[in-house]
C-alpha cells in the first residue's frame, strides 16, 4: 500500500491494463505531446494535466497515439476500433468539448450493440475531465455527466478519490460497453492509499462512506469531499448522516439509496451538474416513486444554479454547493414536520 495521487492512480490503471492486454491503447490530443514534432528532444509531456505521463516511454507511438485537434475523429476512431475488436481509451481533454463530438458517442458507440443486434461489443473508455473550482471559466468547467447518463448504452463513472479512480478505471477498461470515465480536475492532486497491484471496483456498486440514521446524503464526484467536510458539524448539530458515494451513475446502485432512505426517511443529493434534469433530480425522482412511504421530509437536491460556470473566483466559489448550504439543508430536512 502506498500513497498516490488521483492522477497517479489513473496512470497506473492504464499502465497495468496496457501490460495485461495488447488490445488496449490510448488515443487523444497531446497525450504523448511533442513526440510528433520533428525537432523534438525533450520529455513527452503526457497531456496538459499530466494524465498520460510515462505512457509513451513505456508503450511507444503504436499504442499511445497523438492526434490532431479533431475530437469527432478521435471518438469515431475509438468507436470503430472498439467495434472491430480493440479496446481503446480515448481522451476527451475537457468534458466541455463533448459538444463537438457527441454524435460519435451517443448515436454511434452507445447504440452499436442494440442497433446492430448484439453482433459485437464496443469496449471503449472515454476519459474526460469535469468540474469547476479552479478558475477555468464557462467552457472548461462543466460537469455534463447527467447528459451522459441520459443516454442508453453508455456507462458513466465518477470517481471521488484515488483508490476508486484506479479500481473503476480498470473495471471500465475491462468492461464490454462504452464507459465515460469522468475525472474531476480539482481532485487530480488528491492523495490516498492505492495498492500497487491490479484491482477492480465494480461499476454499479455504490459505497457507504459513513452510516447514519437521520438523513441519507448522496454525493457525486467532487461533492464527496465537500460533504466529508460537513460530518463534524452535522454531528455537533445532532444530525446522524448516512453518506453514500454512488461511484458510478450508470449503472446506478439504486438499491443502496433505497435501503438507506428506508432507514433514514430523508434524502439530500449533492450534484455538481446543471440543475434541470440533473442526476440529482433523477435520484430523488426514483426515490419519490419507489420508497415514497418511507419519506419523512421532502427530498432535496443541491446543485449549482441554472447558469454557466463564471470565471470570477468569488462567483465560482458561490456557484458550487458548499459546506454551509449542505448543513443548513440537512437541518431543514431533519427539522421538517
Amino acid at each position: 500500500m502506498t500513497v498516490k495521487t488521483y492522477r497517479e492512480a489513473i496512470i497506473e490503471a492504464m499502465i497495468l491494463e496496457m501490460k495485461r492486454d495488447e488490445k488496449v491503447f490510448v488515443i487523444g490530443e497531446d497525450i504523448s505531446g511533442g513526440r510528433g514534432c520533428e525537432d523534438f528532444e525533450g520529455e513527452a509531456a503526457g497531456g496538459p494535466m499530466g494524465l498520460t505521463q510515462g505512457l509513451w516511454d513505456e508503450f511507444g507511438a503504436k499504442r499511445v497515439i497523438d492526434t490532431p485537434i479533431s475530437e469527432t475523429a478521435i471518438m469515431g476512431a475509438a468507436a470503430g476500433a472498439a467495434l472491430s475488436g480493440l479496446r481503446p481509451i480515448a481522451e476527451l481533454m475537457f468534458s466541455d468539448f463533448f459538444g463537438v463530438c457527441f454524435d460519435q458517442i451517443y448515436n454511434q458507440a452507445a447504440k452499436f450493440r442494440f442497433m446492430y443486434g448484439d453482433q459485437g461489443a464496443t469496449p471503449l473508455v472515454i476519459r474526460t475531465m469535469i468540474g469547476a473550482g479552479i478558475g477555468c471559466g464557462p467552457q472548461h468547467s462543466q460537469s455534463p455527466y447527467s447528459i451522459f447518463a441520459n443516454i442508453p448504452g453508455l456507462k458513466v463513472v465518477t470517481p471521488s478519490n484515488p483508490y476508486d479512480a484506479k479500481g473503476l478505471l480498470i473495471s471500465s477498461i475491462r468492461d464490454n460497453d462504452p464507459v465515460i470515465f469522468c475525472e474531476h480536475k480539482a481532485l487530480l492532486g488528491m492523495d490516498g492509499e492505492v495498492p500497487d497491484e491490479s484491482y477492480e471496483v465494480p461499476l454499479g456498486k455504490g459505497k457507504i462512506l459513513k452510516e447514519g440514521n437521520d438523513i441519507s446524503i448522496v454525493a457525486i464526484g467532487q461533492m464527496v469531499g465537500v460533504v466529508q467536510n460537513c460530518i463534524k458539524s452535522l454531528e455537533e448539530k445532532g444530525i446522524s448522516a448516512e453518506i453514500i458515494d454512488p461511484r458510478s451513475l450508470s449503472p446506478f446502485d439504486d438499491e443502496m439509496v433505497y435501503d438507506s432512505v428506508e432507514k433514514t426517511g430523508r434524502l439530500l443529493v449533492l450534484d455538481e451538474s446543471n440543475p434541470v434534469c440533473s442526476f440529482g433530480s433523477w435520484i430523488t425522482s426514483m426515490v419519490s416513486e419507489e420508497v415514497f412511504s418511507s419519506l419523512k421530509a421532502p427530498t432535496k437536491v443541491l446543485t449549482p444554479p441554472h447558469c454557466p460556470v463564471p470565471a470570477a473566483p468569488n462567483l465560482e466559489a458561490a456557484y458550487l454547493p458548499d459546506v454551509e448550504t449542505i448543513i443548513s439543508a440537512s437541518e431543514n430536512l431533519k427539522n421538517y414536520s
Binding site: E22, K23, F25, I27, K62, R63, I65, T67, P68, S70, T72, A73, I74, M75, G76, A77, A78, A79, G80, A81, A82, L83, S84, G85, L86, P88, D103, Q104, N107, Q108, F112, R113, F114, M115, Y116, G117, D118, Q119, G120, A121, P152, G153, K155, D175, N176, D177, L203, G204, P251
Partner: protein, 324 residues
C-alpha cells in the same frame, strides 16, 4: 482488364444482385410491405462492387443510409439482410436496426449509418488495427457527395493521413444530397481535390464503369496494406431513383433520368466490356441473372413470412448481458 474469369463473374454477380434486390425492394415499397423509408442504390452498383472485390472478409467497410448496395457487395448474408429491412426477429440486427442500420460484422460490414458522414471516423478506427496490432487489413468508408461536407469526414481524412492508416475514402458523387445539387453544396467543386489537400493520393473516375473503380481500388488497397496510408477515390454516378422512395424529384429533369439509364447503366457497360473482350459469354451472365432473381425472390418471401421480434426483446442488448 486483367481479371480472372472467376473474379469477373464474382463482380458481375455482386452488381447484378444489387440491381435485382433494389428493384424488388422498390416494388415491395410500392406495395407497402416495407416498414420504413428506403434509399435505393441503383445506378451506383459498380462503386460498391468495384471496391469490395478488392477486399477480404477481414477487411472492413463502413456504410451509409444508402447501404443495401454496400452490404450486398461485401457479401452480407442476403436472407438475414432482407429480414432486417423488414425488421424481423432473425434479421442481421434482430429487427432493431432496419434498412438504415444493417451490419454484418461476420464479413466486415461495420454497419449502415443514418448520420451522414459519421461512418468515416469509424472506418478510420477499424484501420487502427494495423497500427496497434500489426494486422493486415484495409478499411473503406463510403461517403456521399453531400456527406463530404461534414466535419467528421474532413477530420477523419486528416487523422488517417497523419497516422498513415490503411483507409479508402470512397466518395460516391451521385450528383445530389437529398434535393440539393453537388454543384451548389460543394465549395470548390472537387471532392477528390479536397481530399488530396490532406496529403493522400486521389482518383476521380466514372462510377458506372466497374473497371475504373476496381483498378483504383486495387492500387489504393495495395498501398494501404503496405502501410503507405489512405487514398481517396471519387466515383461519379448518378442515382437512378429519388433520394428516398416516394421523392417526386422536382429537382431534376426527365431527360436527365433517361440519359443516365441509357448511357450509364453499370451492368450494360460491364457486359459490353467483358463480352466484347470475349472474357465471359453472355449466356453465362444470363444464368447468373436468373439465379439471382430467384434467390432474391426467395429471400424476400422468406423475410415477409418470418416473425417480428418478440416484444420482450425491446430492452435487451442495450448493454452486455448481466452487466447493467
Amino acid at each position: 482488364m486483367q481479371l480472372s474469369k472467376d473474379k469477373l463473374i464474382d463482380a458481375y454477380t455482386r452488381m447484378k444482385k444489387i440491381r435485382v434486390f433494389e428493384e424488388t425492394m422498390r416494388d415491395e415499397f410500392a406495395k407497402g410491405t416495407v416498414p420504413a423509408f428506403i434509399h435505393l442504390y441503383i445506378g451506383q452498383e459498380a462503386i460498391a462492387s468495384g471496391i469490395c472485390v478488392e477486399l477480404n472478409d477481414n477487411d472492413t467497410i463502413a456504410s451509409t443510409h444508402r447501404g443495401h448496395g454496400h452490404c450486398l457487395a461485401k457479401n452480407s448474408n442476403l436472407e438475414r439482410m432482407t429480414m432486417e429491412i423488414f425488421c424481423r426477429a432473425d434479421g442481421l440486427c434482430e429487427g432493431k436496426g432496419g434498412s438504415m442500420h444493417i451490419a454484418d460484422l461476420s464479413v466486415g460490414m461495420l454497419g449502415a449509418n443514418a448520420i451522414v458522414g459519421a461512418n468515416a471516423p469509424i472506418a478510420v478506427g477499424a484501420a487502427l488495427r494495423q497500427r496497434v496490432m500489426g494486422e493486415n487489413l484495409v478499411s473503406a468508408a463510403f461517403i456521399g457527395d453531400g456527406a463530404s461536407n461534414q466535419g467528421a469526414v474532413f477530420e477523419a481524412m486528416n487523422l488517417a493521413s497523419v497516422l498513415k492508416l490503411p483507409v479508402l475514402f470512397v466518395f460516391e458523387n451521385n450528383g445530389y444530397a437529398e434535393f440539393t445539387g453537388v454543384d451548389y453544396h460543394c465549395g470548390g467543386g472537387d471532392i477528390a481535390g479536397r481530399a488530396e489537400g490532406f496529403g493522400m493520393p486521389s482518383y476521380k473516375l466514372d462510377g458506372s464503369d466497374f473497371f475504373a473503380v476496381q483498378e483504383a481500388a486495387a492500387e489504393a488497397v495495395e498501398r494501404a496494406r503496405k502501410g503507405e496510408g489512405p487514398s481517396a477515390i471519387e466515383c461519379y454516378a448518378k442515382r437512378w431513383y429519388g433520394h428516398f422512395e416516394g421523392d417526386p424529384q422536382h429537382y431534376r429533369t426527365k431527360e436527365e433520368l433517361e440519359t443516365i439509364r441509357k448511357d450509364n447503366d453499370p451492368l450494360i457497360i460491364f457486359r459490353q466490356k467483358v463480352e466484347e473482350a470475349g472474357l465471359v459469354e453472355s449466356s453465362e451472365l444470363d444464368i447468373i441473372d436468373d439465379d439471382l432473381t430467384s434467390k432474391v425472390f426467395n429471400a424476400v418471401e422468406k423475410a415477409k413470412n418470418s416473425p417480428l421480434p418478440n416484444v420482450e426483446e425491446l430492452t435487451t442488448n442495450v448493454y452486455e448481458k448481466g452487466s447493467y
